[in-house]
Symmetry: C2
Subunit: 97 residues, 2 copies
């Protein structure tokens, strides 16, 4: 694959998979939120977040560097937390614009 | 799958796939950067970024809302651009900490 259009098509395919996985991940986080609530556990567990960040940095083989992977996952975790908060407040968590 | 540990394992599996895809995507962006340089095309093509954001929002079925997907991909695109810039400056783009 040596042409610009080919590499862009590959990025578009990857992006479709990323959207799917990011949403599946968020659904898992929502389920965990419900379970924690039912079990009366604290919503925010900082040690779990540190474990997640350690795991993704360990899995990283580049070309993104570890700091970039950490920044990306901090954002992913943030979005999951924000979704969980909205869901707990009882509103619909998903709104197409 | 109804237990906390099970959902967390699923998140960890998804994260491994995300790390792999994010790196594969960045590698594609690097290849595109090299091609653009060889073809004397501008590095930054704002229309392509708008197309990417439109595509991912169209693919989004939630539970993340469109604004969250857009924020996540803006960050993903940012990291790719930053990697490309470092690569063009001739340095090694990947450094484990």
């Amino acid at each position: 694959m040596s042409d610009l259009a080919g590499w862009r098509r590959r990025i578009d395919e990857i992006d479709q998979q990323l959207v799917k996985l990011l949403n599946e991940r968020s659904q898992c986080a929502l389920e965990i939120g419900h379970l924690k609530k039912a079990m009366d556990l604290p919503t925010w567990q900082p040690q779990r977040e540190l474990d997640i960040l350690r795991n993704v940095v360990m899995a990283n083989e580049g070309p993104l560097d570890d700091a970039a992977i950490r920044r990306l996952f901090e954002r992913i975790i943030d979005e999951a937390r924000s979704l969980e908060r909205h869901s707990m407040e009882g509103g619909s968590s998903f709104g197409k614009e």
